[in-house]
Amino acid sequence: MAQFDHLAEKVLRGFASRTSRRSMFSVLGGFLAGAAALPLLPVERAGAAEPNSSTDPNSGQTAPQGSGNPQDPGDPTKCDYWRYCAIDGSLCACYGGSANSCPPGTEMSPITWIGTCRNPADRRNYIISYNDCCGGVAWGRCPCQNNQGDRPVVRPQNNNEVTWCFGTKSQSYTCSTAIILGVAIDQK
């Protein structure tokens, strides 16, 4: 994380120091608009297509989900999914959301903290944004606590204990997502 944080500081100095929070929001807005144009992973579509008839009818378990993309392996309803290396909370994929989307009726906070997780398939380190979903029902299903890169709240942007519900109608926590922002800088 160290180098990355340095980058952060640098970007920050060269950027934030000339910018008010409001205009940063608008920058963020711009980025989002841009990102929205990018192709999306078919995570939950693919999941929805999978029948779970193959599983033991008496198991009580949800059939495994998956992106259907070999480059994005694992089950987003399980705590060991690669993107969750620094998540702390309940997994939205268990509440009607997915690894990168909020359940219906909740609101995704635009302000959050990020970590860096290694994708076991392409062996790249990705910058993951842990956006919380807010304003819905929180009831502790699929709790998941991984702290890779988590740091004490003295550096909030690297802390997963904060309820990241800012700029949302309600600041009440519902669940957490893990969204790919891009590839991280080589940590060698």
């Binding site: 120091s17 940063m24 779970n52 008496n58 480059q71 299903r141």
Partner: protein, 396 residues
């Protein structure tokens, strides 16, 4: 520091925005010198923020609402894909709900206090949009009267072709608050002293079960004012063999099982209810086993002619809410049992989905077991942490 104050030195809270700034930076430029696996030449693309799931405005009949009563209302797919939880609606103390098929809305009647478990009490109906599950309206119910009773049938009901909602109040005086759901306003209150719960009856009105063993039927005008009251003869022997308050519709007739095993049909389609002859669920042959209806949502119907009842052997005083070992299926025209389904797990609440091939849903402890009508278990959904009673309402 307010949102509009400029953010100057690094030590100021700009630090919090590192994430966003870097995000924009990294995602835009795709900075990535990590050794890329030969078989994945391109990294995974950046994903959209924010992204919130939506649902079809009209839900498939393989979905069902599960009311955890005092906790949440869940929308689950019981028909088989891997993403069983579709969404949740907040629901607090004794919350009940209505799902119309006329409008893309869901109505949840709930109660909160201004400081959690104390402070000012507010009873309210939240109107949710079926497509987004976002709250799109609210109707505050006056008087803090809404009955705080374990969520069950009869606490809230539609009438007037789903234009009106009827909310049962218990303070411990009994009354019914009449709500216009289209105008989203309260129309008025009808006192029903000595009677409990509301069941839709006639074109515009309701019936309620009275402590004297009768059924009181109330007719309403378009403004929710009472235009008539009729009381049936006494048919509910509360001292000897009272009816469960759980019922189901079969062929337009409402069927109430009794604690000792009768079934009481009541035709509520007309402006006056017709109390039809009751008949036994338990034949002489079954008497020895002491079989009785048992559970919470103890009865279900396929709306054509079949009646499903949770049944428990060796029943006696105090066992009427125990989980039941079997579901007995009756043909209502012939008044005969046509099937006995032995459950994988003893069940407390049952319901049937409304599809062409209905599924039997059975809440059994921390499981929701899904059976095909033949009686074989299709799948079992977990209900983590569930320890009270469940109201099952499959999508229509």
């Amino acid at each position: 520091m307010t949102a509009s104050v400029p953010c100057a030195a690094p030590k100021r809270n700009c630090a919090r925005f590192t994430t966003i700034v870097v995000a924009a930076f990294a995602a835009a430029a795709h900075v990535g010198t990590a050794e890329a696996a030969a078989d994945f030449p391109n990294p995974l693309p950046a994903e959209t923020i924010p992204k919130v799931e939506t649902l079809p405005a009209k839900y498939p009949t393989t979905w069902s609402f599960l009311n955890y009563a005092g906790d949440r209302i869940e929308l689950r797919n019981v028909g088989g894909d891997s993403r069983e939880v579709k969404g949740q609606l907040p629901a607090h103390d004794s919350a009940t709900f209505l799902v119309p098929d006329k409008r893309p809305e869901i109505y949840v009647a709930d109660t909160v206090w201004s400081r959690g478990s104390r402070g000012t009490r507010t009873d309210f109906i939240t109107v949710y949009d079926t497509h987004t599950l976002n709250p799109v309206g609210e109707i505050v119910l006056p008087g803090a009267k809404r009955a705080l009773i374990t969520a069950m049938e009869g606490l809230i009901a539609f009438t007037d072709d789903q234009r009106m909602a009827l909310v049962f109040n218990f303070t411990p005086a009994s009354s019914v608050t009449v709500v216009d759901l289209t105008k989203r306003q309260v129309l008025g209150e009808v006192e029903i002293p000595g009677c409990s719960l509301v069941y839709p009856s006639g074109a515009r009105g309701f019936s309620t079960l009275c402590a004297s063993g009768t059924m009181l039927t109330v007719r309403l005008d378009a403004n929710g004012a009472v235009t008539g009251r009729t009381e049936s003869k006494a048919f509910n022997p509360l001292d000897t063999d009272p009816l469960f308050t759980a019922s189901t519709l079969v062929g337009g007739v409402r069927y109430f099982p009794s604690l000792h095993g009768r079934i009481q049909p009541i035709d509520m389609r007309g402006d006056e209810v017709k109390v039809l002859p009751d008949w036994p669920l338990v034949t002489a042959a079954d008497q020895a086993g002491e079989w009785r209806p048992s559970g919470w949502q103890v009865v279900a119907g396929d709306e054509q002619k079949l009646l499903y009842v949770l049944m428990q052997p060796q029943a006696h005083e105090g066992t009427h809410k125990d989980p039941a070992a079997e579901v007995w299926v009756y043909n209502t025209p012939t008044k005969t049992r046509i099937k006995r389904l032995r459950l994988v797990r003893a069940g407390s609440s049952i319901s049937l989905t409304h599809g062409a091939e209905p599924l039997l849903l059975v809440q059994a402890g921390e499981r929701l077991d899904v059976y095909e009508p033949g009686g074989s278990l299709v799948r079992s959904l977990d209900l983590p942490g569930f320890h009270t009673r469940m109201q099952i309402e499959p999508v229509r």
